[in-house]
Symmetry: C2
Subunit: 345 residues, 2 copies
DNA sequence: CTGTTAGCGCGTTCAT
DNA sequence: ATGAACGCGCTAACAG
């Protein structure tokens, strides 16, 4: 196997007895180039299977045409769908996607950011790990002019672009839906207290019940750290309340599944003795014999696509020469979560 | 926000009144460098937060330290797990991972390969789309010295590295398991005929039944194109056989789920009237009230990790100078699929 | 319309 | 022990 090196514009130039810049221009359809030369160059390029060396272009243009995506994991359908959204937009803009999974480990998250920074990615899209409390490594990116867009699990920092789902509307719909079904004691399994969304959920819960003139019992609002064991403990606590809740709103579908598992273990019939509504939605729900009654769709694909679109805009904005640079502004896009009622089986 | 450019060795050199090569050497702990100068350089580099410009290094070394991963989608847990395995190994070797989803579209697959080639990735890992029949774009990569490793869905080409699961042993275990449970009429839902694995499965099926001296009825072996509709049709055909099969072996877990859905629709009780065993395994199986009796684990994480390891070896092999180049050899790693019997609920 | 040249950041000879 | 100079492939400013 001969080490068949890829052709460069220099070789093309030599074979045609023209200069490299002529070749470069011809390949870029530069206006002031003789039609004849242009043809000759393009033909030879095709014959030689010439492909521009991106590496050289990146180097020259000080860009990598790669964006980094950092998220907890790819295993959850929510995130893999988000990546698909990001990939679609990035590809359209000729950008490549570099992936790093933090596995919810703050140290690993930081490490990934560092690697991506050294790699000189042009921008980064992040969904935070659930234990991340320190945001210094993100703030540091500003120094390097690497724009960051957060999605779904976003930090409470004003000067960053963010895309997230508005859980309030979904929560409202969900609770009203359950009340409509006749439920009066509705339990909530929240995520860790650190998550902004948890606190908001509790607030919305209180608002709705107040509006509907139902009694508020905060012992019906419990927390899980998202692990199976913790969720089971949460369920145990909920079910020990008298009278026990007849419906439960779970922070996400995996938590709902764990909760349902616990319910079955203590011989409760799902959707009969106790009903579930969860956030997020995965295609596998369709295969459950007793799926949650409904789930609040958070549109991961759209969130990813939107985050990527914002990033692409940022990257392609050519600062108007001479103009005073406009003050940097940050978007905080909120996609309305929407209740999806599942079909009866 | 000031356009704070990243420091380069040139700037460090100027500030210290030394030459760039001295800085370069100092940073690399080159032996013949004065201890004092070395210290001064390294200190300043730290102070300035100097980070070598990977882009420049890639360009110079004609390497990108990026590997491409092309697979049908990330949505299926099988593939996202495989990516995790790849990512782990790549990261350890200081490589980045570029992802492209073919969505089982041969055209898109080809497009992704082209992009990655132009991007000059150092190597590519591929799991084929289910409709890919033409492998020219992969063979073409040889010209560019971009090594390719296939995993899971591998082509029938001798001169490529491959990692796949050996379905024969798993199939054997699965069928023997069902026979052990007393089943005599066992149906098989195969994938498309194009897939090598489908033909092999049929062969193994016949072998086992012969060995066990059971009657072979090939009308119990049907195909699906993996879509829900097609699987339902396959089930309909199977269930129309007299006597109808009491157990079914499905090519993967999604097909098994679709098949179970159909069974329920025609009022059969899962795990009672009809049992299922499937290939592949996803964590969600644990949440089903009536999961398949067993599944053949294909170890996606390990397959991905192994494929990445092979690729890393290829990339790091420095051809011994002067030595006659050894003839290229190709690995064909086969991981034994293993039957996992699920716990009763 | 086309050629010449500089330079992006770095590692690496070849000198000194 | 250190410096000067080159070149990787490409683009663009400048010069005809």
């Amino acid at each position: 196997m001969n080490e068949e090196r890829l052709p460069t514009i220099k070789e093309i130039a030599k074979k045609l007895n023209v200069s490299v810049s002529t070749v470069s221009r011809a390949l870029h359809d530069h206006p002031g180039i003789g039609l004849r030369t242009k043809m000759r160059v393009q033909q030879l390029a095709r014959d030689l299977n010439y492909e521009p060396n991106q590496s050289a272009i990146f180097f020259k243009q000080q860009k990598t045409f790669a964006i980094g995506v950092v998220l907890p994991n790819l295993k959850e359908e929510f995130f893999s769908e988000a990546v698909s959204g990001i990939e679609e937009v990035a590809t359209l803009n000729k950008y490549n996607v570099l992936i790093g999974q933090s596995q919810d480990d703050p140290e690993k998250e930081k490490q990934i950011i560092t690697t991506m920074k050294n790699y000189r990615v042009d921008g980064i899209i992040v969904s935070l790990g659930k234990h991340t409390k320190n945001y210094d490594h993100f703030t540091a990116l500003k120094k390097y002019n690497i724009p960051v867009v957060f999605f779904d699990r976003v930090p409470n920092l004003p000067d960053f672009n963010k895309v997230s789902a508005n859980m309030a509307s979904g929560t409202m719909e969900a609770i009203e839906f359950l009340i409509g079904k006749g439920h009066r004691r509705i339990g909530v399994i929240n995520g860790p207290e650190e998550m902004k969304s948890s606190r908001e959920r509790t607030k919305t819960y209180q608002q709705i019940l107040t509006k509907k003139r139902l009694k508020i019992d905060l012992s019906l609002v419990v927390s899980t750290d998202l692990t199976r064991e913790s969720t089971h403990a949460a369920m145990k606590e909920l079910l020990s309340q008298k009278p026990r809740p007849t419906a439960i709103l779970a922070i996400n579908v995996y938590v709902a599944l764990d909760a349902m598992e616990y319910a079955r273990k203590v011989k409760l019939k799902i959707n009969k003795d106790i009903c579930f509504v969860s956030y997020s939605h995965i295609s596998l729900t369709n295969y459950l014999e007793t799926p949650p009654l409904a789930s609040v769709e958070q549109y991961p694909f759209q969130q990813g696509a939107k985050a990527a679109t914002i990033l692409m805009d940022l990257l392609q904005r050519t600062p108007a020469a001479g103009q005073p640079e406009p003050p940097e502004t940050f978007q905080n896009i909120v996609i309305n979560g929407q209740l999806i009622v599942h079909k009866k089986k």
